[in-house]
């Protein structure tokens, strides 16, 4: 049976993890390769690396890092952050990334999705959406790491992007991100039940029950979290055992 996926996310700046804390098992939690290898060994199903490096000159650092990760890690991984062109995608895939994620650049130029899908296949195109529920009860798309509001509804943008060729959607609720109060179940299940591509839920996962809820009520195909894994608030093997006991299809 196809399993639900648990995906740790590592934020990368200038080739280093931003939020790494000390793990006894590894010498340097600031080294993304070491931390990624630890998560893979613990049973993470995939990994996401989000580059928040501000400067263009440091992009080469990212492609070198991706190559090191590809040599070391034996599970699939996605790389995102600042991707603006087919050339950016090509460099990352050639260095061994399995998928790339695009966000603002795709919204500003939707044909980018078509170009990437045509050149490399939909299976490697993850659309990241930063979503915020407003007072009117609707979910809106935000850009530039959540700093810029748009008038576009999440459900409309997600549908258009799928029609253009994205193979997966990484949906982050800005209302829930960092709260540890649970994932956004309503918009997650709305997308998961109406779109033909997998939905990765992100933002708000704080305990094991939240993951159970997002896989059941939220109908998510995968769940992503960062700090709760980095700060060892939840250990991946414990989380996966909990979900398996509760009847969720999980790879143990």
């Amino acid at each position: 049976m196809l399993t639900k996926r648990i995906i740790p996310c590592l934020d990368i700046k200038d080739g280093r993890t931003v939020k790494g804390v000390n793990f006894e098992a590894i010498k340097d939690a600031g080294d993304p390769v070491e931390l990624a290898a630890l998560y893979a060994a613990q049973g993470a199903d995939e990994l996401v690396f989000l580059d928040i490096t501000a400067t263009v000159e440091k992009r080469k650092t990212l492609s070198e890092l991706v190559n090191k990760i590809a040599h070391r890690i034996n599970i699939p991984f996605t790389v995102g952050g600042g991707i603006k062109s087919v050339e950016d995608v090509s460099v990352l895939l050639q260095n061994g990334a399995d998928k790339i994620s695009i966000n603002t650049a795709a919204f500003e130029k939707p044909t980018l999705i078509e170009l990437i899908a045509k050149n490399f296949g939909s299976q490697c195109v993850v659309l990241a959406i930063d979503a915020k529920k407003e007072a009117d009860g609707e979910w809106y798309v935000y850009l530039h790491g959540g700093r810029t509001k748009t008038d576009r509804l999440v459900k409309d943008w997600a549908r258009e992007a799928v029609d253009l060729g994205v193979g997966e959607i990484l949906l982050t609720s800005m209302n829930h991100d960092g709260t540890k109060q649970g994932f956004a179940l309503d918009i997650t299940s709305q997308l998961a039940s109406t779109l033909p591509v997998p939905i990765i839920a992100s933002g708000g996962g704080g305990n094991e029950q939240h993951f159970f809820d997002v896989f059941t009520s939220g109908q998510a195909d995968a769940a992503l979290a960062a700090s709760i894994f980095h700060y060892k608030e939840i250990a991946i093997p414990d989380l996966k055992k909990y979900l398996a006991i509760k009847g969720i299809a999980i790879r143990l």
């Binding site: 196809l2 034996n74 050639q94 939909s122 039940s193 033909p196 195909d221």
Partner: protein
């Protein structure tokens, strides 16, 4: 041991090379006919679309080369599908090493996603390719088309229906999943192939 990874217009080829490096062997990524023919083992990987891949292989006469190899050959994902007789993906005549038809997954309900993406079980494991691999082990899949069950089936997986997640005939092996991305189980399967 001389290992050739067939280079063609498909993705994910480096990942196979890196996975082999992790289990301590080096390989040559090549589209050179002679290098492929004289290799001890040939790996035919790939993520991509069937008709453009077959056209590329035919233009370089690699189709005939692959069909006539006598050493162990392992097709991965699209590589395995191209070793079948025909694919519904753009109505493509393939290499015919396995006489299987490759069909499109038709979801029975709208909540089933196509392509299948993620970890699924491999069962009814046969041949040395799956030596020491427990029944129901998880492997990583990304595919929208599947090979039907046949006498060549050496592993099955359930997604929408039961299908062939691995095939075998003589010296030819094919796996639908990605051993290079399937954690320790995948590395063991690659090692098993090298041991054949």
């Amino acid at each position: 041991m001389n290992i050739a990874i067939v280079q063609y217009n498909a993705g994910n080829i480096q990942s196979v090379l890196y996975a082999l490096e992790r289990i301590g062997v080096s390989a040559l990524v090549t589209d050179n006919v002679e290098q492929i023919q004289k290799a001890d083992k040939v790996i035919f990987p790939g993520v991509g679309e069937a008709s453009t891949a077959m056209q590329y292989l035919r233009e370089r006469k690699l189709d005939v080369v692959l069909q006539n190899l006598k050493q162990p050959v392992l097709g991965i994902c699209l590589g395995m599908q191209l070793m079948c007789a025909h694919s519904e993906e753009n109505d493509t005549t393939c290499l015919g090493i396995f006489d299987n038809e490759v069909k499109y997954f038709v979801p029975k309900i709208s909540s089933i996603k196509v392509p299948q993406m993620g970890w699924n079980n491999i069962t009814q494991l046969k041949t040395g390719l799956f030596q020491d691999i427990p029944e129901n082990s998880y492997a990583y899949f990304v595919h929208g088309y599947y090979a039907e069950l046949s006498k060549y089936t050496i592993a099955t997986t359930q997604y929408i229906q039961e299908y062939s997640s691995a095939l075998h005939r003589d010296n030819f092996y094919g796996v639908q999943f990605h051993p290079e991305k399937s954690a320790a189980i995948g590395e063991q399967i690659l090692q098993n192939f090298l041991n054949i």
